[in-house]
């Protein structure tokens, strides 16, 4: 008896090809002893050059990537057909020319050798045609049942084409059901918005609020359009900004946003709602009509009162944001507060989403358990790991899994199909503001993979080409004129100009909110957080992101139980002790890391680590997801923590967090800066006139001598959020190897650029300071004169050149570097990487940058390869003018930075941005007193504390 359950077993074109290939293999194996037949391949010589292809010259293509509903516009570099660097697309409205660290790392993800390569049917590999046949057969079988028994599970990827196909599916298979689950999504936010009367819509911030109050959210790190938020935030930090901003953060752990706060209040997760309720209550006394919730006044304190006053004073330009870790009711209250403050009319816009209706993961699992679904098509993610109960319920259904790795879901799937990387497949992404970007592939799929669009199209029995599907979606948006022409423009710009955007005016009523969370318990609480580098674990198999230190904790290759110093002391725990965390009957042993600034009695548990069987790097760390409540909430009370014997070494990349009173990160409040613009000079250890030598006449500096090019960098500490995207960008651009945990433990990480972070106790308030640090290309560089073979030498353009070929590895230069930014190849890390990563890493490498050998010193070059390319271009195209224009050279770190914190340029040109920044009164050089004259200087940080709270 043939049942529908077996249809997946029967691909409709198995016979001839499979038979022939099987026969061929048999025959070939009989003949191998005699000879090997070479495969028949067509060779296409470059005798006739493909259009625009110049050997050695990279090409750039606009595309886009997404995590959750956050879209990042990209301009990806391709060298000889290989994507090698993820650049930013300045035109993209929800990323504003920035790229998060994860986006930078996707270029390596493409080449990950652990990606699944072939489709698997019951664990045995099948060819692509066989897989497609199986999917089509399933589609046919379901069509007859009007889609009954079919569940489609997807994440929050905001693809218009996917949305269109989903709607088509709903039309053609009316009984089919669609579900959505995304660990990086915003289910609570959506539910909260729906409660407040704005369902299925998203808010995009266009300009900086004057007062930003964040409640357990991390819009700089792991939530929403981080680049757009950073951009808006940075625009309000400049002393000349038309609207200066002030950031208040209420949160249980130190998020990236919290680390940038002017005022920060650490409370337990369960107390956050009460603080917001207290704010709403306080605002009532400033004339706003907001619900007074029970227990609100109890949570009111000086912080809340000052915040309410500040917000009321900035009516219309102050805003509250609540994070995904909080329940929907809190979001709803925030929407009411914002509506009352008038934030939504001035600061941004609400856009209606095209997304079809989705059900939740809980409903899917319930349906699976009840046997409602015969087929579960998982188009993204790893539900067997991320949805509690999915794996058990999957026994009653056949799972079709589209995924990049042979993960937990792939192992229980009837059919696993490798998922195409976004650099391999056509797609489209709509941002929170309604802007659409075409996801343009740069390379043919490396493996036998399919995109979600292709799989969905196959189920529908439609055209399989993702290219045609995407074009079909947007064809209708060209009302008149030539579609092809518009299409070309969209591909070029990376943004679809004519896509219709539906703005909505939120109609929010100040109503009583049902079930608003009560104030917290006195227990120890757990806070599950998204990791700042590997996010929910989807990037856990990236050695770059594993090695990238968490901007706040500086831990790499691991997560840890983060505790406040007092809580750790109470529990008798210290750094690197092992502790058993018990919650909901599950328990896990993991190491402890003390993070100042964490709320007391909170156990912070970063997700995304310790996943076995996914890949060679993803297993690093500890999988805390097993402790999480089954309903998927982000915090829970009743945690028990017990010290366990043993310890575990954590690879922290910065062991010291205090500045020891040294003038390294210089800062002042906006008020103090207005009072004394030259405040940085007060920090100087030696007066400039004392530094000049009495022994010799100071040489005329190159930029004063009329040299054409004198390279320099200026870093505005006001604009750096510490996100560390630049570190990964540098790694991608400059072929920097990763070294692995054991080497990081020894202090041998190779990052040419690091983000130094210092903690500060400002009258009891915990503060974090970030400072990007790379080779400063000192004018009188201490590294140069000590090299016995002259491998480090000064270029006429002011660069501190490193001749790798000449280096014999005495390491004297690195000892003598006061910033300690030189990196040594203690082992042959490049070859070690090759061994781990295979050909993938060689494909990613930038052909313009030398790969360094063991025993050689290396360091930041200011991306000298980009400088040289720009100079050559200028010489060829400049019509005799060889002076490179300002902004023509963008270093990798600068390109990744969406806030413009880092500016590279020619300081011999007084009109250049960098020269102007060097004339800014906030400009200072770190360690100027030792007369090294660094080319990289900093603009001092300005904080903007509320005078009412600043007094302590």
């Amino acid at each position: 008896m043939t049942t529908e359950n077996e249809t997946l077993n029967k691909p409709d074109i198995p016979s001839r090809r499979t038979f022939l290939s099987a026969m061929g293999a048999t025959v070939a194996s009989l003949n191998t002893a005699a000879c090997i037949r070479k495969p028949y391949e067509k060779i296409l010589p470059f005798g006739q050059r493909p259009e625009d292809r110049v050997p050695g010259r990279p090409e750039y293509y606009a595309t886009a990537a997404s995590v959750g509903a956050s879209v990042v516009g990209l301009r990806v570099r391709s060298n000889d057909g290989r994507p090698t660097f993820i650049g930013s697309n300045k035109q993209h409205p929800t990323s504003k020319g920035g790229t998060p660290a994860w986006a930078q790392a996707t270029v390596l993800e493409l080449y990950d050798p652990d990606r699944s390569r072939t489709a698997l049917m019951d664990g045995a590999s099948v060819d692509p045609a066989g897989a497609a046949g199986a999917i089509r057969a399933m589609g046919k079988a379901i069509r007859d049942a009007a889609g009954r028994g079919l569940a489609i599970l997807t994440d929050e990827t905001p693809s218009p084409t996917l949305f269109r196909l989903m709607k088509t599916l709903k039309e053609q298979f009316p009984e089919a059901q669609q579900f959505r689950h995304d660990e990086m999504g915003e289910a609570n936010g959506q539910a909260g918005a729906a409660m407040a009367g704005i369902p299925n819509a998203s808010f995009s911030l266009n300009e900086t609020p004057a007062v930003i109050a964040i409640f357990d959210a991390d819009p700089m790190g792991t939530e929403g359009d981080t680049c757009a938020f950073d951009h808006a935030f940075a625009s309000g930090r400049d002393p000349d900004a038309p609207r200066k901003n002030r950031l208040y953060v209420v949160e249980p752990y130190v998020s990236l946003t919290g680390s940038n706060a002017d005022h920060r209040k650490a409370v337990k997760p369960s107390e956050v709602p009460a603080v917001l309720a207290a704010l709403a209550s306080e605002l009532n006394s400033h004339g706003y009509e907001l619900p007074k919730l029970a227990g609100a006044d109890a949570a009111s304190d000086k912080f809340v009162k000052a915040l309410a006053k500040d917000m009321a004073k900035n009516q219309g330009v102050s805003m509250v944001m609540v994070g995904e870790r909080q329940p929907p009711q809190v979001h709803a209250l925030a929407h009411m507060v914002n509506a009352a403050l008038g934030a939504y009319t001035k600061l941004g816009a609400w856009t209606q989403s095209d997304a079809p209706e989705f059900q939740t993961a809980d409903e899917l699992v319930a349906g699976m358990k009840a046997g409602t679904f015969k087929y579960v098509v998982s188009l993204s993610g790893n539900p067997a790991h991320s949805i509690p109960g999915f794996a058990d319920a999957a026994e009653k259904a056949q799972v079709l899994h589209l995924g990049s790795y042979l993960d937990e879901t792939a192992r229980i799937a009837k059919l696993h199909v490798p998922k195409s990387h976004y650099l391999e497949a056509w797609g489209d992404l709509v941002g929170r503001d309604g802007s659409v970007a075409i996801q343009q592939p740069l390379i043919a799929p490396l493996h036998e993979s399919k995109s979600a669009i292709e799989v969905l199209a196959t189920i529908l029995g439609s055209k399989e080409s993702g290219y045609e599907q995407v074009r079909d979606t947007h064809r209708s948006h060209v009302a008149s004129g030539d579609f092809e022409k518009s299409w070309q423009v969209w591909l070029h710009d990376g943004v679809v100009q004519s896509h219709p955007v539906q703005r909505v005016e939120p109609a929010i009523q100040a109503a009583q909110i049902e079930g608003y969370p009560k104030a917290g318990s006195s227990d120890l609480e757990a806070a599950f957080i998204r990791d700042l580098t590997v996010l929910d674990g989807r990037f856990a198999n990236s050695p770059w992101l594993q090695e990238l230190p968490d901007p706040v904790t500086k831990l790499s290759w691991d997560n840890a139980l983060l505790l406040s110093p007092d809580t750790a002391e109470k529990l008798g725990l210290k750094n690197e002790d092992m502790a058993t965390v018990t919650l909901n009957g599950a328990s896990l042993d993991l190491p402890v890391w003390i993070q100042p600034g964490t709320a007391d009695d909170v156990a912070v548990l970063p997700l995304g680590y310790g996943r076995e069987g996914v890949g060679q790097y993803a297993s690093s760390g500890f999988d805390v997801s097993g402790l999480r409540p089954v309903d998927g909430t982000w915090s829970a009370s009743g945690v028990q923590i017990k010290k366990t014997p043993g310890s575990y070494r954590l690879a922290c990349q910065q062991l010291e967090s205090d500045q020891y009173g040294r003038p390294i990160v210089r800062e002042a409040s906006q008020t103090d800066f207005t009072a004394d613009e030259n405040f940085v000079a007060k920090f100087e250890v030696m007066k400039p006139e004392h530094i000049d030598s009495l022994l010799w006449e100071e040489p005329v500096l190159p930029w004063a001598k009329g040299e054409q090019h004198q390279w320099a960098v200026s870093i505005d500490l006001n604009k750096c959020s510490g996100c560390s995207a630049c570190v990964v960008a540098c790694q991608a651009e400059n072929n920097i190897p990763w070294v692995g945990k054991s080497e990081v433990l020894k202090g041998r990480e190779m990052h040419w650029m690091k983000i130094d972070r210092y903690f500060k106790d400002n009258n009891g308030q915990f503060e974090v300071k970030y400072q990007p640090m790379g080779c400063a290309q000192c004018e009188t560089a201490p590294c140069e004169n000590v090299c016995p073979v002259g491998a480090s030498a000064h270029s006429p353009e002011g660069l501190n050149d490193m001749a790798y070929n000449r280096c014999i590895g005495t390491r004297y230069c690195a000892n003598n570097c006061p910033y300690k930014v030189r990196r040594f190849n203690f082992f042959h890390y490049t070859v070690r990487n090759d061994g781990e990563y295979g050909m993938g890493i060689t494909m990613q490498r930038n052909p313009d940058v030398t790969v360094r050998y063991r025993g050689v010193m290396e360091k930041c070059t200011y991306c000298v390869q980009r400088i040289q390319r720009a100079k050559i271009y200028q010489k060829v195209n400049g019509g005799g003018d060889t002076k490179v224009k300002d902004g023509a050279i963008v270093t990798a770190c600068e390109e990744a930075c969406g806030t413009g914190a880092m500016v590279f340029g020619n300081m011999a040109d007084p009109e250049s941005r960098v020269a102007k920044m060097k004339n800014n009164p906030r400009n200072y050089a770190v360690l100027a007193e030792i007369n090294i004259r660094p080319r990289t200087t900093y603009l001092a940080k300005l904080t903007n504390p509320n005078p009412e709270l600043a007094e302590g």
Partner: protein, 464 residues
């Protein structure tokens, strides 16, 4: 009167060798260890030494194969035990030249009993020392680039680099020391040539004796050459360790960038050199029954030098602190306070105890004449001086920016290279005491009473 009194009749000082030794007795006594049938005891020293030296070779082979990462070095401590050991051995190598050249020029006749021995020690220490900067580079196969070899790229070494000065200073020191030692050996090699009975021995000693016949002309040339070499070697005593100290002093790191380093290093080097000479000599004079030649007088003098140089080193330690405070530089002051109170304070106080506190015992003559105690003190000096270099190198853990601070701990391979270098040292030493006269016979004979052509003048108190 009895010529064999305990007082040297020439300058009325206590006799430099036992008065009962005559020319023949000295020759016999010094040549004895070479002429013995190889004693079991020698093998007991030699075999472990060779094994240790072989382990050094194995460690170095693995190092070259795998990379300097097998050591504990990291960022910020890019130099670890390799450089510590280098400076340690160079320091030990200082006693030889000081004794043979400087004391020779100052007509310190007591040097004759110990100069050959300490020069040999110098050479072997310099050999060990040179091995470390050689193996510590990342790409050892390109090390010849530090030599000014003409090449088609017109790429020359960087003459501004203290490391390059090091290359010249240590290699010149090594070659001059070798030459000096060899020239001094020639008359004794001829003696051995005439004494040995084996054909091979006669041939080998004969080759190296350069046809020495002991004629007046030979002696005259010999003494002029020796005097000239002593003159050449003397500045080297000061220069080598000054240059080694430049490796640190010329850098701009807090705790390294100090002008006191050159004199402080030289004093420390003599201190450690004499410490090592004492360690070795105290053993050798007992084993080879040389108490009559290396008398308590010699031992006492060496102990005094140890006391003096140890105190100079102690003064330098104190002065570093003063200057760090006086400089007004917070980095400098922090570096020194950190040395004494930071994570590596143990190393610092070990250094102070061994180098400054313990040698103060030597103010008392009774202590200076206690062989066992002296031996123990000399071991402490060796330990202390190793720690001094360790403390200096470990200053790298905390420099300007706290963000880059780190820790350093040695690995198995750091230890194996260090211990292995002792294997190399003792192997060479065992071969030396077995095959070469460990005491300069010809020179010692010049200080015995019989060498005085006019004993009666001394007896009657007449002047020369």
């Amino acid at each position: 009167m009895d010529m064999r009194s305990n007082v040297d009749l020439v300058d009325r000082r206590p006799a430099l060798v036992d008065p009962h030794e005559d020319f023949q007795a000295i020759t016999k006594r010094v040549a004895a260890p070479i002429e013995w049938k190889t004693p079991i005891g020698w093998w007991l020293f030699f075999i472990p030494s060779v094994l240790l030296a072989a382990s050094y070779g194995g460690s170095v082979a693995y190092l070259v194969w795998e990379g300097t990462g097998i050591w504990g070095i990291n960022n910020p401590v890019f130099w670890g035990w390799a450089i510590v050991n280098f400076v340690f051995w160079v320091g030990i190598g200082h006693a030889g030249t000081l004794i043979s050249a400087v004391l020779f020029l100052f007509r310190q006749k007591w040097r004759t009993s110990i100069n050959r021995f300490s020069e040999a020690m110098t050479l072997f220490a310099v050999a060990c020392a040179l091995s470390f900067p050689t193996i510590h580079v990342g790409r050892i196969w390109l090390l010849y680039w530090v030599a000014p070899v003409p090449n088609s790229m017109l790429a020359w070494p960087n003459f501004r680099s203290p490391l390059l000065w090091d290359v010249f200073a240590v290699s010149i020191y090594g070659s001059v020391s070798l030459l000096f030692w060899y020239v001094g050996l020639i008359p004794d090699l001829a003696t051995m040539r005439d004494r040995v009975t084996s054909k091979l021995g006669k041939f080998a000693y004969g080759i190296f004796a350069l046809g020495w016949r002991g004629s007046t002309r030979h002696w005259r040339h010999y003494e002029v050459a020796y005097m000239l070499l002593a003159g050449l070697a003397t500045p080297l005593v000061l220069s080598v360790h000054s240059v080694v100290s430049f490796d640190f002093a010329v850098s701009q790191l807090p705790g390294w960038h100090t002008t006191i380093f050159p004199p402080y290093f030289v004093a420390g080097a003599i201190f450690s050199g004499f410490g090592m000479v004492l360690t070795l000599m105290l053993i050798a004079r007992v084993i080879f029954k040389m108490e009559n030649i290396v008398t308590m007088h010699h031992i006492d003098n060496m102990a005094k030098v140890v006391l003096l140089t140890g105190s100079i080193v102690g003064y330098a330690y104190a002065m570093e602190f003063f200057v760090a405070w006086y400089s007004g530089s917070q980095y400098e002051l922090f570096a020194f306070i950190n040395r004494a109170t930071g994570p590596y304070a143990g190393a610092y106080w070990t250094m102070v105890t061994c180098n400054v506190v313990i040698p103060q015992i030597l103010w008392f003559q009774k202590m200076r004449h206690n062989i066992v105690l002296l031996f123990i003190i000399s071991i402490f000096v060796n330990i202390g001086m190793w720690f001094e270099r360790y403390v200096i190198v470990i200053t790298l853990t905390r420099d300007f920016l706290p963000s880059s601070w780190g820790y350093y701990s040695p690995t198995f391979w750091d230890v194996s290279c260090f211990l292995g270098s002792f294997g190399l040292f003792f192997t060479l030493f065992c071969l030396f005491v077995r095959f070469l006269p460990m005491i300069a016979m010809a020179e010692v004979k010049t200080v015995v009473p019989e060498a005085d052509p006019h004993p009666e003048e001394a007896a009657t108190g007449g002047a020369h």
